[in-house]
């Protein structure tokens, strides 16, 4: 745990007990019996511990209890069951989160408050994260760069792990399921007097699965992963705590490639490693001042290779990223109604990567501040800013303002306005890649002018491109700008009774300078040379609804819905200008499309919904749940030749995924679970050899059994 405020220690007992399974006493002052819900607190929204209901931002919490009830294995399994959180497979093979319509590359993923790195193609693969040691998952929606800087353009997901608990405790569990998925977890915790330690080991392996019978590769090749995590805490006294946490993740996966035209198959391996280390010193100076000193280092590396039939090396690629960040934070509490958070830090990133002509380095000092105050009793205002300086791209100033107004105890309004950005990454600036099979070239923006000149000098460009070279080079005159967004969220929360809760949130996020890959010159082999440019302006707009109802002691029902419009402003204009046409396949005649025919960005469903029914029988030590997630139709690419995703294209039809889980506890410490994920076996298989896309990559029905022993 690295992000704990100093008073985390003070709240620690209270905090843990409300989430731990071994819930015994309720040392909470609240006069309600529904302690669990009232006590939900989070740290991600403000960097101070806040009750969920008092945060003026659209936030979401997923607790360990919920994770355990549904027997999730990886973070990807978990997120899809919550409103507005959907994971999307990436062409690069990873699977990242989509938040309010924004892709994974615009969502910052934190582990105990420090960023996970290693986005070789932009997506941070959430299959890397086991849920086995997650205490709580915190999600902040909307631009959050005012606190977190780079990548927090669409929002933040913070994975919170458990701290050591007084005494010795632990659990061991194993889950076996279809596809020979084996997930084993061991959790140990020890704390005595000043010293505490946790240790966690997870092994997860799978035979993978295949949705495409027409080729010789699998959708997911067999793999095995290990995760080791440990956290040590030492309390010098009541005011000072030192925390060290370390994580090691490793994934070994078969790597299979097929030359589509010749059918030749290449085999190899891909190996992935992720290391994270955090040292955190918390100190309370006095009632008003608390300070934190944090040092974080992370390394993410991959090695991939493919060999041909004979065993000769065909391709090999390496990726090796270091991320180092010292940060200092202070919380200054004037009184109950006025609090300041101040922070300053320095980020250093390096990357060694195949197809990079240099080993680039990013250096970025930054500073942030936040004022959290209650001008009157019913109003809470948070105003914050962050300033990031950078050695390669333009400095960024990210402000944020959020307001909550509690009209009554049962009804409150929230509104927030924020700025978010994502800096051009190493790949977009420094990649120098030529595809050996097809022959196209992709150049990072900063290396492109020199490389284009080289290609021209060596006769690799067409006569046309050479003649046009001065114009092409002039496209690179200005620096590539960070992608940025301005987002607004307006919502309301309504709690008519202790057992009913409903919320609504409207969001709009306008993103500018979206970086797109576009062809800039033609190689003499007819293939293109691509580079990265700030091009598109897009917007994401929608509505999110959530509600839950604890019907009685046994049943809880919850449901959620997200409506989303995601459009490119230029494309929308093309429709309005009447430049877009369709073709009637039976007559061969073209017809003009109007603006209502524009569906919007691919890979996003307009309608997403979920519903869950939880049953709990305390006497019988039994609980069960039935969940469904529904996705409306989504476009995946232009299929009718006009270059736009419109209503006349092919769509991935809507689908529903049902899950069921049964959990029974024996002799207090033994828990046995049976369940089926994807009960009705929905898949989106490849239907013909020409159909290359399996958009969702959702595996078929999975039966599982799980056993867990606490000690």
């Amino acid at each position: 745990m690295s992000l704990n405020k100093n008073y985390f220690c003070i709240y620690f007992l209270l905090f843990f007990l409300s989430y731990s399974q071994a819930q015994e006493t309720k040392p909470v002052k609240k006069d309600s019996t529904d302690t669990e819900k009232l006590d939900e607190v989070l740290i991600t929204a403000t960097r101070t511990i806040r009750q969920l209901s008092t945060v003026p931002l659209p936030v979401q919490i997923i607790t360990r209890k919920q994770i355990q009830a549904i027997n999730s294995v990886r973070l990807t399994d978990l997120l899809n069951e919550y409103t507005g959180l959907i994971t999307v497979p990436d062409f690069g093979g990873g699977e990242g989160i989509q938040l309010q319509g924004l892709d994974s590359q615009y969502v910052l993923i934190l582990l105990d408050g420090v960023p996970l790195v290693g986005r070789s193609a932009g997506t941070l693969d959430l299959n890397r994260v086991t849920v086995g040691n997650i205490k709580q998952l915190e999600i902040v929606k909307g631009p959050s760069s005012a606190l977190y800087g780079n990548e927090a353009l669409g929002g933040v997901v913070n994975i919170i792990t458990a701290d050591p608990i007084e005494g010795f405790s632990g659990d061991i569990s194993h889950r076996l399921s279809t596809f020979n998925n084996n997930d084993t977890n061991l959790n140990l915790s020890f704390k005595e007097e000043n010293f505490g330690i946790t240790a966690f080991v997870n092994r997860f392996s799978s035979d993978g699965y295949d949705l495409n019978p027409f080729n010789q590769t699998q959708t997911v090749e067999p793999f095995k992963t290990f995760t080791i995590f440990s956290k040590l805490t030492y309390d010098f006294n009541d005011d000072t705590r030192l925390t060290f946490s370390g994580r090691y993740f490793q994934n070994d996966q078969d790597n299979v490639g097929e030359n589509v035209s010749t059918g030749e198959v290449f085999r190899g391996e891909s190996k992935e490693e992720d290391l994270n280390g955090t040292l955190l010193l918390n100190h309370t100076f006095n009632e008003k001042w608390k300070g934190q000193l944090e040092f974080y280092i992370s390394n993410y590396n991959t090695i991939e290779f493919l060999n041909d039939d004979v065993g000769d090396n065909f391709t090999q690629s390496e990726f090796d990223q270091y991320f180092i960040r010292p940060e200092v934070r202070a919380v200054y509490t004037i009184n109950k109604n006025n609090e300041f958070v101040l922070g300053a830090g320095y980020t250093k990133e390096t990357l060694d990567r195949t197809n990079f002509s240099i080993s680039p380095e990013f250096n970025s000092p930054y500073l942030y501040g936040q004022y959290d105050f209650n001008p009157i009793k019913k109003v809470n205002i948070i105003a914050g800013f962050r300033y990031d300086s950078h050695n390669v791209y333009t400095d960024q100033l990210s402000p944020k303002l959020a307001i909550q107004y509690d009209i009554t105890k049962k009804l409150s309004l929230k509104g927030s306005l924020g700025y978010g950005y994502k800096a051009p990454d190493f790949r977009q600036l420094f990649l120098d890649f030529t595809n050996s099979l097809v022959g196209y070239t992709v150049l990072g923006y900063n290396v492109a002018p020199q490389r284009l000149q080289d290609l021209a000098d060596n006769g690799f460009l067409t006569a046309g491109s050479i003649a046009n070279l001065p114009n092409i080079l002039s496209m690179f005159n200005e620096d590539l700008q960070a992608e940025s967004s301005v987002g607004i969220n307006i919502g309301a929360e309504f709690k008519p009774t202790n057992s009913i809760k409903a919320s609504i949130n409207f969001f709009r996020n306008d993103v500018s300078n979206l970086i797109d890959v576009i062809p800039v010159a033609q190689r003499s082999n007819g293939q293109n040379v691509f580079s990265y440019f700030n091009r598109n302006e897009v917007y994401f707009q929608g509505l999110e609804l959530n509600s839950s109802w604890a019907v009685n002691k046994n049943f809880t029902i919850s449901g959620g819905y997200q409506y989303l419009i995601a459009k490119d402003k230029e494309e929308k204009q093309d429709f309005e200008d009447g430049r877009v046409f369709g073709r009637d396949q039976s007559t061969g005649l073209d017809f003009q499309l109007d603006k209502n025919d524009y569906f919007g960005l691919p890979g996003r469903a307009r309608h997403l919904g979920n519903s869950k029914l939880f049953y709990k029988n305390i006497k019988g030590n039994f609980d069960a749940n039935l969940r469904v997630q529904v996705s409306g139709k989504q476009g995946f690419m232009d299929t009718n030749g006009n270059g736009y995703v419109d209503n006349f294209d092919d769509f991935l039809p809507s689908y529903a995924i049902w899950d069921i889980a049964l959990n029974k506890t024996f002799f207090e410490n033994y828990r046995m679970s049976l369940g089926v994920d994807n009960l009705f076996d929905f898949t989106d298989p490849i239907s013909n050899p020409n159909d290359n896309n399996s958009i969702t990559q959702i595996p078929g029905r999975m039966y599982y059994a799980r056993i867990k022993v606490n000690f």
């Binding site: 062409f91 080729n215 589509v260 035209s261 097809v438 022959g439 196209y440 690799f460 067409t462 006569a463 046309g464 003649a467 046009n468 062809p519 190689r523 003499s524 082999n525 007819g526 009447g578 430049r579 877009v580 046409f581 369709g582 073709r583 396949q585 061969g588 005649l589 073209d590 017809f591 003009q592 690419m637 232009d638 299929t639 009718n640 030749g641 006009n642 270059g643 092919d650 013909n688 050899p689 020409n690 159909d691 290359n692 896309n693």
Partner: protein
């Protein structure tokens, strides 16, 4: 209704009178020609993989409505996805014909039927930097669906893109490309591994009358 009939009659009379007066001048208007060409093969015999495209273009003459091997009497020519006009300057690739006419082209954004008039100001000719019909996905006549394994690797005619040509001798034609694959298969059944590319099927309307800028 009655009024409409009357107007139609009036229009018919006007046309007859105009036609008569043309006759009087000795300049009979030849009827415009609407044709479909199927499976025009636009082979490419060399290049690729580091080399420029090579090989002869398949030349087409609107006046005769057929393929030609003439070095001079051609209007437009095809090689792979490149469509060139007999006007402007050669790009100097192997097999590329010299331009010796005054042909030109532009791409209109409309349905084929709606392109009724030529806009002379939009015409461009081929140049070493760029062809009059730009050869790039979404910029000229076609949309490329992307390379495998994620794209379907097809060349699809962009709907609503009409190629308007001035012929080598100053007449006009409009062209709508129907397909780039042999026998013009339905688009949703196209398979890059099965269907043979570089076989153009296209509709055209040719206005054979000198100086007439309409297609009606």
């Amino acid at each position: 209704m009655r009024k409409f009939k009357f107007l139609s009659l009036f229009a018919l009379l006007t046309i007859l009178i105009t036609s008569c007066s043309s006759d009087d001048d000795g300049q009979t208007l030849v009827p415009i020609e609407s044709e479909q060409i199927t499976n025009l093969f636009a082979d490419i015999t060399g290049g690729g993989m580091g080399q420029p495209d090579e090989g002869p273009f398949t030349k087409f003459d609107f006046e005769s409505g057929s393929i030609t091997t003439s070095d001079t009497d051609w209007d437009i020519a095809f090689r792979s996805t490149a469509i060139i006009v007999n006007g402007g300057t050669t790009q100097g690739t192997v097999g590329e014909p010299e331009r010796n006419g005054n042909a030109a082209a532009y791409v209109a954004e409309d349905t084929f039927a709606n392109v009724t008039e030529v806009d002379e100001s939009l015409f461009r000719q081929d140049s070493p930097t760029e062809l009059a019909i730009i050869r790039a996905s979404g910029m000229g006549w076609y949309t490329y669906t992307g390379p495998p394994p994620f794209g379907t690797n097809l060349i699809l005619p962009t709907p609503g893109r009409v190629l308007v040509f001035r012929t080598r001798d100053g007449k006009y034609a409009k062209v709508s490309i129907d397909s780039y694959y042999r026998d013009n298969p339905p688009e949703d059944q196209l398979d890059a591994l099965v269907n043979e590319p570089r076989y153009y099927t296209f509709d055209y309307v040719y206005q054979p009358n000198e100086g007439v800028t309409t297609f009606e």
